[in-house]
């Protein structure tokens, strides 16, 4: 009855050909694609990079078999804002990415933030420092997880002022992050009745010798030299300050942002007694130790876990909880809605414990002021910190009203 002519054969062939495509598309529709953007090749590689990737993958693995697929991709941001925003744009336009994790250096994060908002996707940031992400640059598509400059300034800066360090000189990395950290710390110093005697802005990246800046800082006769920098800049500053006898002359160094890998790199001999603030330490409690055991096999052998890595894990875990809660199709369609759901749900994970996300995108959890142990106090591998003080999440971060976030006013 039916004539099999050439046209039907062709049509059938075309239909057959389309089959795998529709299956692939159905699979893509049921896949959440998470993209980690951070430094894999430069100075911030150890405090983000491969360890953070391992932690993000751990979160994805713990969420396997929940009825949808999770794919993790990653890229190196080269610590450059233009590179970061280009990669992000490509990921959204052609890569089918739903969620950007981290971003790395503050300058990159601010650029990525704009792209994510424009495309209405999700941005969970772990390692960037600038408090502007939940201030004037806040976005309905962003959660800023681990820490920020305000919290560091209040914790490390506040503790230093209370210990008698009432006059400061800043050595500041000359970009968004350094400026924010210097500004936030200087505010605390002034509020506490201290004085800021001056600051020097050092080119970033590309400065290896800080002795000149340290000597200028010393000449200002400040009691505290505030290091508003990170990574190898901080390492070089601490190393050279001890070389020039600055710490021996009673001047205190305030390493406003120092991570476990930095301490490991400098060694306890040179860092003992320094204070720093992190929101995660592997040896904090049973849950953090359990998490560390779970990821241990996937980490770089010589790089200890720090809060940025843990933040990568915890922020992705919470994102996936929200996705599971609202269903994949809806989650893929509207990033702002996912973030709203993340804010509505209570957070709880092994790294940061119970917590919550504020309207401005700020994740709240306790901040710990640590003192670096002396070599004789350290009992084993990566046993570097002792807790001096714990600040609750509500107190540790900037009050929402002070941030000038447009989401809060509306």
């Amino acid at each position: 009855m039916t004539d099999i002519n050439r046209r039907t054969v062709l049509a059938a062939g075309a239909g057959m050909g389309a089959l795998p495509f529709t299956r692939a598309r159905a699979q893509a529709a049921n896949t959440i694609k998470i993209a980690l953007l951070c430094d894999f090749s430069g100075t911030y590689r150890d405090v983000t990079g491969p360890n953070e990737l391992a932690c993000v993958r751990q979160a994805a693995a713990e969420f396997a078999n929940r009825g949808f697929n999770i794919e993790v991709v990653y890229a190196d941001n080269q610590n450059r804002a233009d590179v970061g925003s280009n990669i992000t744009r490509t990921w959204f336009d052609t890569g089918g990415v739903d969620c950007i994790v981290d971003g790395g250096a503050s300058s990159v994060a601010l650029a990525v933030n704009d792209v994510v908002r424009e495309k209405n996707k999700v941005y969970v940031n772990s390692s960037s420092a600038t408090s502007d992400l939940t201030g004037r640059a806040c976005s309905p598509n962003l959660v800023h997880w681990t820490y920020d400059t305000y919290m560091l300034a209040k914790s490390t800066g506040g503790a230093t002022v209370r210990a008698g360090g009432d006059s400061w000189y800043f050595i500041t990395a000359d970009y968004a992050f350094g400026h924010a950290l210097e500004r936030d710390t200087a505010n605390f110093v002034r509020q506490a009745g201290g004085r800021v005697l001056g600051q020097v802005r050092t080119p970033f990246p590309g400065t290896t010798d800080f002795s000149s800046f340290l000597v200028q800082a010393q000449a200002s006769r400040a009691k505290v030299i505030g290091l508003a920098n990170a990574g190898s800049d901080t390492i070089n500053c601490i190393k050279q300050a001890s070389e020039f006898g600055i710490t021996r002359r009673g001047i205190k160094l305030a390493s406003l942002l120092m991570f476990m890998p930095d301490v490991h790199s400098l060694g306890l001999e040179q860092t003992q007694g320094l204070i720093c603030t992190e929101t995660f330490y592997w040896d904090l409690n049973d849950r953090t130790r359990a998490f560390t055991r779970r990821v241990a096999g996937q980490l770089q052998p010589n790089v200890p876990l720090c809060m940025n890595h843990a933040g990568g894990y915890a922020s992705v875990l919470h994102y996936l909880k929200a996705v599971a809660d609202m269903g994949v199709p809806q989650a893929k369609a509207n990033g702002a809605e996912v973030v709203a759901r993340m804010k509505a749900m209570p957070c709880d994970d092994d790294c940061f414990g119970p917590g919550s996300i504020r309207q401005d995108g700020r994740k709240l959890h306790p901040a710990y002021l640590f003192e670096v142990k002396s070599p004789s106090e350290s009992r084993g591998r990566f046993d570097y910190y002792k807790v001096l003080q714990t600040t609750g999440g509500d107190e540790a971060f900037r009050p929402m009203a002070e941030g000038n976030c447009s989401l809060v006013r509306s």
């Binding site: 290896t208 010798d209 002795s211 010393q218 390492i235 790199s265």
Partner: protein, 298 residues
């Protein structure tokens, strides 16, 4: 007099003296690194972009010698340049030697690629935050010069690198070996006709240039963070130094190295934000007015 200086510079004199001295110390590193580059360029006509990686290898080999073999700073000062120099010889024999007949650009690209690969391997193996390396006990401590606190180790770096620079200059300008080297630069076939093994001389020269980079690396290990990108940060500046001094000019690279260290040091006082750029501004001006460099022959 001092008050007069203070009035015209706007900076307290002790601070100014301190900055001049610190500039000189950084200049010592620039001088040693650009010296190696100048030697290699002078004889091989290769712009050795692996130099930064070889500087970094010097620092890492010093760390390895200490951590794995228990050999301290003084041993490393001799062994690390030899080891890294030997890797340079291998690289020259296997790869660079095939490019002498081609344009400069090929050598530049090859050495740049090798440098990136070396850096990548070290980054994979050791991470990016770096490794601790101590100042040797004999050189720790500091002198109080009145106007500043001068670490003994930094003084040692200046003196030692001056000696090395002078020795290299003497070898090249005043010895028979140096005469062969210079002659081979001018006319290799002629020198070969006199029975000198020119290819071997070229290989060893490359090895020596690399060893100089590694030596600077060992000197840098106790004061800078020993990390895989430590060479990248320095090498771009050093290239500018070589260009300003005049490509291939030994004495030029040494004098410019120290001189630009001082200029950079002063910039760090008056306009810190520009301290990473000032050398390139000078480079642009020199290239516009004296394309062959301050000490180069046009």
């Amino acid at each position: 007099m001092l008050e007069f200086l203070e009035t015209i510079t706007g900076v307290p004199t002790p601070l100014l003296f301190g900055q001049l001295l610190l500039g000189l110390i950084n200049g010592a590193f620039y001088a040693m690194l650009s010296l190696g580059l100048a030697v290699i360029f002078g004889l091989l006509n290769i712009i050795n972009f692996t130099h930064g990686a070889q500087f970094m290898m010097g620092a890492f080999v010093a760390w390895m010698l200490l951590a794995w073999a228990g050999i301290g700073y003084w041993g490393a000062l001799i062994l690390a340049p030899l080891i890294v120099g030997a890797t340079g010889v291998v690289i020259e024999r296997l790869m660079i030697s095939r490019l002498y007949k081609l344009d400069h650009l090929y050598g530049l690209l090859l050495t740049f690629g090798i440098g990136l690969m070396i850096e990548g391997v070290f980054r994979n193996e050791f991470g990016s935050s770096g490794l601790p390396y101590r100042i040797p006990a004999e050189l720790s401590g500091a002198w109080d010069l009145g106007f500043m606190f001068m670490p003994i180790y930094r003084g040692w770096v200046v003196v030692f690198s001056l000696v090395i620079c002078l020795a290299t200059w003497l070898v090249i300008e005043k010895t028979r070996l140096g005469a062969y080297l210079r002659a081979a630069t001018e006319n290799a076939p002629l020198v070969q006709a006199f029975g000198v093994n020119v290819p071997r001389m070229i290989t060893l020269t490359y090895g020596a240039g690399v060893a100089l980079a590694a030596l600077a690396g060992v000197l840098a290990a106790p004061i800078y963070s020993v990390n895989p990108q430590m060479g990248t940060n320095l090498i771009i500046v050093v290239f500018a130094v070589v260009v300003i001094g005049g490509m291939g000019s030994i004495l030029g690279s040494v004098i410019t190295g120290f001189g630009l260290g001082v200029v950079e040091g002063l910039t760090k006082v008056y306009w810190p934000e520009a301290s990473a750029t000032v050398i390139f501004v000078i480079m642009a001006i020199v290239l516009l007015t004296r394309p062959a460099g301050l000490f180069g022959r046009a």
